[in-house]
């Protein structure tokens, strides 16, 4: 190594590591600040796009009226209204898939039938579990009444056609919808 380096005395080592860490801290804090707003915006946009996609036309702002139930702290309810009349709910729900959390937004009409579903975020195996985001899989849930349509894959005695080679991901999808339907039954209808 070159001779013009600082010698490795105790004082030098402490000083330099402290200096480098301090500069790194400032750089990170700055980046965090700058990207904070766009990152929050990405989340909001995602939620709003999902709401529009899965609910009938509404004229309130469901994001402002969102609420949670004490029994289901992870689930977020977004009531949709038109002319002050409730026309349905969107529920943000979650379950554990093959490799992490799967967040799904599901819409229910006033009769508590499933209107539509949308995957907000997932980390499933690309090409297998990720097919849950496709219409081909999600179409089977539309218009179903969770009281009759058993939200389980056929392998487990339910009514859902699982994705090929991605049973665990399909189970996670059903589980998330099931949670939402149960929560809605319990308290969303107020």
């Amino acid at each position: 190594m070159a001779d013009n380096k600082l010698p490795s005395t105790f004082f030098n080592m402490v000083l330099i590591l402290t200096l480098i860490s301090a500069v790194a801290t400032v750089a990170l804090a700055y980046t965090y600040q700058v990207t904070k707003e766009p990152r929050a915006l990405v989340e909001i946009k995602k939620t709003e796009a999902a709401l529009k996609a899965i609910l009938p036309e509404f004229d309130n702002n469901p994001t402002d009226e969102k609420f949670t139930l004490p029994d289901y702290p992870q689930l977020e309810f977004y009531p949709a209204k038109k002319g002050g009349q409730g026309i349905g709910w969107a529920i943000k729900t979650v379950s554990i898939g093959f490799s992490g959390e799967v967040w799904i937004m599901v819409g229910f009409d006033v009769n508590k039938h499933i209107l539509n579903t949308q995957v907000l975020s997932q980390t499933e195996t690309p090409g297998l579990g990720t097919k849950m985001t496709q219409d081909k899989f999600q179409a089977q849930f539309r218009g179903q009444n969770p009281a009759e349509f058993k939200l389980m894959v056929k392998k487990d005695g339910g009514s859902v056609d699982a994705l090929t080679a991605a049973t665990i991901s399909s189970r996670a999808f059903c589980e998330a919808l099931n949670k939402a339907a149960k929560a809605l039954e319990q308290g969303g209808a107020k």
Partner: protein, 197 residues
């Protein structure tokens, strides 16, 4: 310094993935599609250029005994900055690459370049080194991505080439397929290089 020569060095002669065989986790983990491979490669390139430049700049004030912790603080800071920026500006790709972005910190290509190159060379030379090695890495990830996406999903750049219900070779999307694809690619590339030289 001859840029063309440097590019040849980074992409062919010292290609980190196919020739040096270092930093093998991302080539196996995120190359199931070409886009994922490219995103990972470019993110790594950005970290490489940044960390190489900063480390070349401060190499003389780092006492030898604490150089590894010092390197790692710099590298980890760059990775976190890239991670935050990708979350803000390319959220879809960021969601796809998931945990692999923070793991760039422990990619040994970056520490290897810091130790072997940036701590002995000037700022500009180190930036060029980061660029060419990063490009070599990116191209390697994309080549593996092409093979795996084509065989496993029947598409390229997410553009389907087969009918939707066509049978594809599923194993190529899974990690085992990455090993198979990479083994054959390394063999082919070494054969080509030998003939070429």
């Amino acid at each position: 310094m001859n840029l063309a020569k440097e590019l040849y060095r980074g992409i062919v002669k010292e290609n980190p993935t196919f020739v040096l065989l270092i930093g093998m986790c991302p080539p196996l983990g995120v190359t199931n599609t070409v886009i994922n491979g490219m995103g990972m490669g470019l993110a790594t390139t950005a970290v490489l250029i940044g960390s190489n430049m900063v480390l070349a700049l401060i190499k003389n004030i780092i006492p030898d005994k604490v150089r590894l912790p010092a390197f790692l603080v710099v590298i980890a800071s760059f990775v976190t900055m890239i991670d935050l920026s990708m979350g803000a500006y390319v959220p879809d790709l960021h969601a796809q690459l998931g945990v692999f972005i923070p793991l760039i910190v422990v990619n040994c290509i970056i520490l290897a370049r810091a130790e072997a190159y940036a701590s002995k060379n000037g700022v500009m030379a180190s930036a060029v080194d980061g660029l060419v090695i990063g490009l070599g890495f990116t191209i390697a990830l994309m080549i593996i991505g092409v093979v795996r996406e084509l065989l496993g999903s029947g598409s390229i750049f997410n553009i389907p080439l087969l009918a939707e219900d066509a049978t594809t070779i599923l194993i190529f999307i899974l990690p085992a397929g990455a090993f198979i694809a990479m083994g054959f690619l390394i063999a082919a590339i070494n054969k080509l290089l030998k003939r070429f030289q």
